[in-house]
Amino acid sequence: MPGYDLQPRRPSWGIRVAARKTRSTSHPIILAPPPREAIISLNQCSGSPAEPVVEPGEKVATGQPIAKPVFPGGVGIHASISGVVVAIEERLVFSASHSTEPCIIIRGDGSDKIWAEYQPIDDPLSLGAADIRQCIADAGIVGLGGALFPTAKKLSTEQTIHALILNGVECEPYISCDEVLLRYHANNVLRGAQILMKGAGTERCILAMETDMPEARVAVHEALEILNDDRINVSLVTAKYPSGGERQVLELVTRQEVSSGKLPADIGYLCQNVGTAAAVADFFATGRPVISRIITVTGYGVSRPVNIEARIGTPVAELISIAGGYQGTPGRLIAGGPMMGIALPNDSIPVGKANNCIIAVAPGELSDDQPELPCIRCSECLHACPARLLPQELLVACRSKNMEAFETLGLMDCIECGCCDYVCPSAIPLTSMFTLAKTRVREAQAEQQRAIHARQRFEARETRLAMLAEQREQELESQSAEGITTSKIDELMARASGQANTDPDVDPGTNPGTNPDTHPGQS
């Protein structure tokens, strides 16, 4: 087969887990109807939340921009349904801390009227790289693998890119949205890849796929033959968790590692999720910005596990009802996969651009929390760790809050995949401890920055005060040269020092009007 690397890449790290994907891959993707009410979080892009450009009460059409980015390189948000903006308020959203975020709430009018300015772009491959990146940014496209990094910003790297890596390695159990996308829309993904290659200025693309998705491989092969683009190659990766992480897939496909603190672009590779490529192709073909994404709704707690193309902002409950509703005794609801996912507090939470999977877990389906036992130093965790860290040493550092050891042991390189938790015979919750420790390190770094800032301000103030004192001195000298008596100088000196100490009786009229540099608030 042309363009096929048949030798699967086998990682030395990672764990084998039951994939449990076939239940949700047996149906084609279901197109969900627009929800009655869309709750669109303003946090749909890594970085700070977007700023709304609509007001409550305003009518919006599907695909209309409703929020703009606050920092350069960010992307905006588009209305996923047509209707009326009923509120912009804090709502409970999908997040680790079960916190609320500002959301735009649109009540649908049922017509799903499409925004008039929504036009396909003919022949995208004739556009320049910068134009392509601008279009991608306008379409609100972010990394749909879950990181939500703005795609256009990632493409506009200054490094020379040898190849674009399309990540179709969906290593986490249960999740199958990328697999069905490749199975049913392989040509879309490949067309997106062509546009992304153009945008990144590279002439090579490697589509990484897992060995356990044969149907998707066939579909990709057929699409490649029709497309007849020999720049796109397919590389196979053994199904092992977490080979789908950005750094992990890169290591497997290129046999090169990204150093700590560096980005894949620093060694000349760009990694994009296949869903992102499909979103790019969709936008150029139809003019449709990111208003929906494919979400796997699965688990033994739903009667008909399925992949759904749902509008952004659809509540989880509506997706569950498309998947045949709950069955049996309800257990937990997990957003994301069973390894890295987050338990949802209820099913009224809306889905965002980052959500790839909703699992309704039946009781006993996934292992429950077990009592934690002491570490027996079996070093299973270090064999499993895909970042090649020493989790048992990190555990000691976490327990003793040893910030220096965090740095030497590379805590910040932990990808929080949960492999160490999975293999730990003592059931130590290592990953959550590392997550917490990483937060601590980030706080300490922020504190360090703040201290530097405070020092600069303090020094600036010292310089200013010294300058003012010198000016005053010079004035006194010049006045004494004009023949003012010593007693007059003493009086002036007393007044000057009185001002410095903010003598309460100082009349504002005697304020140092002679100091033109003095800022009113900082005299």
């Binding site: 201290a451 405070a454 103030r461 504002p508």
Partner: protein, 170 residues
Amino acid sequence: MAILVMSGLAATIALLLIVAARRLPGDKQAVVEQLNTLLPQIQCGRCDYPGCRPYAAAILAGEAQINQCPPGGEATIQAIATLLELPRLAPDRSFGIHDALTTAVINEKDCIGCARCLQECPVDAILGARFFTHTVITDECTGCELCIPSCPVDCIRMSMRGAGAPQNQS
């Protein structure tokens, strides 16, 4: 013979090193700078020195102990002890106790615009002018509490950092 040569060599080198250490002044200013970066830069003056850098200089001059910085707490003591190769000390509570970070908040309803707190703030984090209401630029405030005694109407209080500006009490 070999032993004599080696020990003679060692003695000469030792002598040279001792002379060099006496003659060449260590870069004191650089050490003060380094020490200063370890301090929390609150500039509160609770160490009895008018700011973090003077305290750093005093430590190096042997005038101050390394445990006089309440905002830094044990972490700062540890860092200084490691840098200067001194034994760790317990925090000296007579200078104050280590507590959560705070920022100053001016109750704008009570502020009379006397401009006294403006002079006290070591990082110019209070915005205002005489006869105009003052306010604290929360992002710049280090929580040194130096503005509190200067207020004649007691309208400044400390609030937990990150709690956001609380509503002014009526």
